[in-house]
């Protein structure tokens, strides 16, 4: 409301405030931060040079050609030199800001902001490089004890085909189990949502099942199924291979998790959607099928993929029932050679297949959050 010169205005009760003088505050100097950034980069390079020569000696002792090792390692340290670029830029911005602070505050602010950004950039990358260095040192410590135990390259290459072939067993197990889990989980979820009093026993059994298999460690489920069921000597069960038992056990365990994912997805669809569908004459099942589940599926993909990643990792547990999967194969090799490098191969394989899925989950979650912010 305009209150400057209206005659009908009520009388002022408070005296008008005196106008306060206002001076723009110059930015805080970034000189200290910039100096620190330069310092850490310098230390990193010094340590890097020392480490490089040690690591080179270490690599040479496990049969790496010295020339390549030297070129590679000092090359890496040379890359570290690039960190001086942001550090120096930050420093020069900071000094310029200090000089202009008295003359042009806006300019000084911009320079300071740039100085901070560049300095933090240098510090951040230095920290990352330092972690890599420390890891390198750890590998070569005690005459490359760590490196030799876990990363014996010749052994890794020599046994890769065995481990790699056995890894197909893991892939077979998780691909089939994932497909079965998708179906089985939905069956359990729908059973847990069975309507009415007649649905009560179905709900009860489904709930008991989920409670049981969520609490039961996967390794025990695999053990019981894999060793127990063949002993029963029942038809069909009698003829199943250990791999099939492994798939069965993992499906039972992960079916319980995934049914919970489905259920929370289904319950996250607002009840007004169900009301709208029912009021158009859709039955309970039709409502689930055409309205609720299609909306739920979009929301459950990220948690579902997370469960799949755990399922893939848990395929390594099948070695307890004697299935020769990648881990079991690697353990056999490891005990023959008194060296764990083949297990490293398995570890790397597992990590490699997980990373794309983990990134996909991140992307999907990000997309959903964007959509939420956009309002629907």
């Amino acid at each position: 409301m305009d209150d400057t010169s209206d005659a009908s205005q009520p009388p002022r009760i408070r005296a008008p405030r005196p106008t306060r003088e206002w001076k723009p505050a110059p930015p805080k100097s970034a000189k200290g931060l910039a100096t620190a950034a330069l310092g850490v980069v310098a230390i990193l390079i010094a340590v890097g040079l020392l480490t490089a020569s040690t690591v080179r000696d270490g690599l040479a002792s496990v049969g790496f050609e010295e020339g390549w090792a030297t070129a590679g390692l000092f090359g890496i340290v040379a890359v570290f030199l690039l960190l001086f670029v942001p550090a120096l830029k930050g420093f020069s911005c900071a000094s310029r800001a200090d000089r202009t602070a008295k003359i042009d505050v806006a300019e000084a602010r911009a320079e300071t902001a740039a100085a901070r950004e560049q300095s933090w950039l240098a510090i951040g990358y230095t920290a990352a490089a330092a972690i890599v260095l420390i890891f390198g040192l750890f590998l070569v410590a005690n005459e490359v004890a760590v490196g030799r135990t876990f990363f014996d390259l010749s052994l890794i290459f020599e046994t890769f085909h065995l481990v790699g072939k056995a890894f197909w067993v893991n892939i077979e197990i998780f691909v089939i189990a994932e497909i079965l889990v998708l179906i089985w989980g939905l069956v359990i979820a729908v059973a847990r949502l069975a309507p009415g009093r007649a649905g009560a026993p179905v709900r009860l059994i489904a709930t008991a099942y989920v409670d049981l298999f969520r609490g039961l460690p996967a390794i025990i489920a695999i053990y019981l199924v894999g060793f127990g069921l063949p002993l029963t000597d029942l038809p069909i069960l009698r003829d199943m291979t250990p791999t099939m038992f492994a798939i069965l056990a993992l499906t039972l365990t992960y079916g319980a998790y995934v049914s919970e994912v489905y259920r929370s997805g289904i319950e996250s669809v607002h009840w007004s959607q169900t009301a709208a569908a029912r009021s158009l004459g859709f039955s309970h099942t039709q409502t689930l099928r055409f309205v609720v589940v299609p909306q739920a599926v979009r929301r459950i993909i990220p948690p579902l993929l997370n469960d799949f990643i755990s399922l893939q990792k848990d395929t390594a547990l099948v070695s307890v029932i004697g299935t020769v999967d990648a881990f079991n194969q690697a353990k056999i090799i490891a005990s023959n050679h008194f060296n764990l490098s083949s297990v490293t191969t398995v570890a790397v394989l597992f990590v490699l297949i997980t990373i794309p899925q983990a990134r996909l989950v991140d992307r999907l979650i990000e997309r959903d959050q964007k959509r939420m912010r956009a309002g629907g």
């Binding site: 007004s272 959607q273 569908a277 029912r278 004459g281 859709f282 039709q286 309205v291 909306q295």
Partner: protein, 248 residues
Amino acid sequence: MALVEIRDVRKSYGGVVPVLNGITLDVEEHQVVCLIGPSGCGKSTLLRCINGLETIDGGEIRLHGDRVSGPGVDQDALRRDVGIVFQSFNLFPHMSVLDNITAAPVKVLGQSKAEAKERAMELLARIRLDQKAGEFPDRLSGGQQQRVAIVRALAMDPIVLLLDEITSALDPELVSEVLDIVRDLRSEGMTMVLATHEMGFAREVSSKVCFLYGGVVHEEGPPSQIFSDPRDERTRAFLQRIIEAGRL
């Protein structure tokens, strides 16, 4: 015999006071009945009972003389004949406008896709939204969404249409485009029961106005009488408040 007969209907959500405490109401064919009353008096609850979205605790509801409340009634069949439109539209966000409208005729009534689509396009053309058939609901304005929701209910060829405060969630300038459809439907003779806070509109379109209070129909009559000469104390007080709020 009235088209919809509501006899002594009771409904409680488990609270101390029942929400509906013996509602009796007749809706004749081609009538437009408006339910008015303070917030929380049970207008939405009554509408939801009529199409079986809520089960009633006592009394009975008849459609064409056939009891449609209580055990053994095919609720899905009832809901095919009684359409309802909600305050918050409740369109299916994962379906296009066209699919929203054709889903139930195809899946529930077993119409062919082509047949359902033709009818849907006809209805959309009537509300001048045929251009938007392929859009998803989140790309439409509130008024457009609500018009689609009405058309979605009409595509089932309901005997009665229930409208639950269909304009309350809309910006004022979008209200009229939705109310125009209701006017149209009335002139075609569609039987409707509507809960509304738009008193001016209620006065204009309704054949009968019912004032709900304390779980019963406190006063009912033609709009001219209810709005200009309310007999009941509570009706008068309620309308007084509405007038003070500038809504009549």
